[in-house]
């Protein structure tokens, strides 16, 4: 309890944010990204393409139709969400941890008028941007395969942005308490991979055992898939607004946490 109090100290206070400076932090990361994207596009982008190939075209041949869809039609839209999720979570764990600890970039920034809240917000913004970018690149691939069925699909960036903002926040929270790089293994094994497998990407959540069928509801990925899949397939319904609302609420309710947690870690 005392530990938790220490981590969350200041969570009730107002954040000290300056919009132009948040943007400067974001732009700094963008400038670095423009130089390094070639070397990390591999696991953010090529990997989901391999999934699409192996599972969609390979395994999919043996799967009967799901909700009237061929397996690849069912899978492809959800992989847009999961590839965005992975690119954001990698960036906001390994990437942010490097900037925070090893490179001490955050320290350099807060020696200027930039506040620690600006830094963390800029990071979250960057993680969100990166997720949307990689998600949309994968979206283009899905479109190339002829799997985009409706112009509603042009709205995909909205649920994508809301979802990856949530993942930026979650990852930053983990990063703020991570003792070392190895600890991110837990984050991915215990949180991200189960989400990837059981949030309706590969099969409908109705097929989960009754006792744990409620769990996907608590994950941003599930709600994003619930919006993105119908948009891509052109099966829109009002219930999608509920999922969008869930994603927006998740971001709004948690965004203060990584700010105070990073500050409490770095500033003593």
């Amino acid at each position: 309890m005392k530990v938790l109090k220490g981590l969350l100290k200041g969570a009730a206070s107002r954040p000290d944010l300056s919009r132009p400076l948040v943007l400067k932090v974001f732009q700094r990361n963008l400038l670095v990204f423009r130089k390094t994207w070639r070397s990390n596009i591999m696991f953010n982008f090529v990997e989901p393409v391999l999934y699409l190939w192996a599972l969609g075209f390979g395994l999919g041949m043996y799967v009967t139709r799901i909700n009237g869809l061929s397996y690849i039609e069912f899978l492809a839209p959800a992989l847009i969400a999961s590839s965005a999720m992975f690119s954001t979570t990698y960036e906001m764990t390994y990437g942010s941890f490097t900037r925070m600890g090893f490179q001490k970039t955050f320290h350099g920034m807060v020696a200027t008028p930039v506040s620690m809240d600006d830094v963390v917000m800029g990071e979250i913004l960057y993680g969100t941007f990166k997720g949307v970018l990689y998600g949309m690149v994968f979206f283009a691939v899905v479109a190339l395969f002829g799997l985009v069925k409706s112009p509603w699909a042009l709205l995909v960036p909205i649920p994508l942005a809301l979802m990856v903002a949530g993942f930026s926040i979650l990852s930053m929270i983990w990063t703020s308490i991570a003792p070392n790089y190895d600890s991110f293994g837990y984050f991915f094994t215990l949180l991200i991979s189960p989400m990837f497998l059981f949030s309706g990407v590969f099969f409908p959540v109705e097929n989960l055992p009754p006792g744990i069928g409620f769990l996907p509801w608590f994950t941003p990925l599930y709600h994003a898939v619930e919006v993105i899949r119908p948009l891509v397939l052109g099966q829109v319904s009002w219930s999608m607004l509920y999922d969008l609302g869930w994603l927006a609420a998740f971001g709004a309710l948690t965004v203060r946490l990584p700010m105070v947690m990073v500050k409490n870690r770095l500033i003593q």
């Binding site: 400067k24 490179q103 001490k104 350099g108 200027t112 008028p113 500033i267």
Partner: protein, 332 residues
């Protein structure tokens, strides 16, 4: 220097004023109620061994670390409430480089200018000036990862100048540099001082302190032991000269009686004794005579000018002696 806020602060002759400043980490008190004033345009040094609390003090001054208790004004404003405004007017050279590794030298400067919201064309101009001043022009397109240690340090310093700071804070600016690179940094710091920038630096290099600082405080275990000008401190505590004798300290005690009023201070370390005085030759004569009478012979004997290191050892060495048994702590 730009004319920011000139009307309000014309009368202000100090840049930093700390009163009873305390910094506590949990149960550990790193800074134990220090008071100091840094005057406009001077080079002020915080001198002390590693772990003395120097970095804690400067981190509070540049608004990184919250003040536990006490009062701390920078440019007449309270760091607790006006951190952003204060930070806009200072430059910080941290102990560990935190440059943007993937970016080039010039990009580092431009990105940093952005944090001060300096307009692009002004930033470009300012970056050119700094590259020139720091002798990094040829490296401007090079990625930071490829720079030498000295070049990195100069870039860190140059980056801290991007906003034309009125106060430049340097935390151990030359630690880990080779002598050539160190002198290059010192030279630049002197030029900055001449142009009116106030410098506040922490160091554990006595040479650096005596080369650069107009005034300094000696800090030990979170407290100020002494303050003054380098010369003043040397004069007050150890006098002009140091007479070093290669001799067993136990036998050396016998010599002391012969020194009389000539002796200002002395210290014994292993098989060397150092006697401090304003009258080196005279003292040398007396001690030699006394040694002959006692039948003590020296392994060596030399007179040299006294320096800050002697002051420092005297001040901190004595306090260590007072707490016998934990003599390993001076380098924590």
């Amino acid at each position: 220097m730009t004319g920011r806020g000139e009307t309000v602060e014309k009368s202000l002759d100090y840049v930093v004023k700390a009163a009873d400043l305390v910094k506590r980490f949990g149960g550990f008190e790193a800074v134990k109620g220090i008071s100091l004033t840094v005057a406009k345009g001077e080079c002020f040094g915080l001198l002390g061994p590693n772990g003395a609390g120097k970095t804690s003090i400067v981190k509070m001054i540049y608004g990184f670390s919250p003040v536990t208790s006490g009062r701390l004004l920078v440019f007449g404003e309270d760091v607790k409430t006006r951190a952003r405004q204060i930070k806009a007017r200072i430059g910080v050279v941290p102990q560990e480089d935190n440059l943007d590794q993937e970016l080039t030298v010039r990009e580092n400067l431009l990105v940093y200018a952005g944090y001060f919201r300096i307009k692009r064309d002004l930033a470009v101009k300012r970056a050119e000036e700094i590259l020139d001043f720091m002798d990094l022009g040829e490296k401007s397109g090079e990625v930071v990862g490829k720079l030498s240690g000295g070049q990195r340090r100069r870039l860190t310093m140059g980056r801290a100048l991007i906003n034309n700071p009125e106060l430049l804070i340097l935390d151990e600016p030359t630690t880990g540099l080779d002598p050539y690179a160190r002198h290059l940094v010192w030279q630049r710091l002197r030029r900055l001082k001449e142009s009116g920038v106030t410098l506040l630096l922490t160091t554990h290099y006595l040479e650096e302190a005596s080369q650069l600082c107009d005034r300094l405080v000696v800090i030990h275990r979170g407290e100020i032991l002494e303050q003054g000008t380098p010369r003043g401190l040397i004069g007050r505590h150890v006098g002009r000269e140091a007479l070093e004798l290669g001799i067993d300290a136990r036998r050396g005690d016998l010599l002391l009686e012969g020194a009389g009023h000539l002796l200002k201070a002395w210290r014994a370390m292993g098989d060397e004794m150092v006697f401090f005085t304003d009258y080196g030759r005279e003292l040398d004569g007396r001690l030699s005579q006394r040694a002959e009478e006692l039948g003590i012979s020296f392994n060596y004997r030399r007179i040299r000018p006294a320096n800050l290191e002697d002051v420092f050892l005297k001040l901190t060495g004595e306090s260590l002696k007072a707490e016998a048994g934990d003599s390993g702590e001076d380098h924590l």
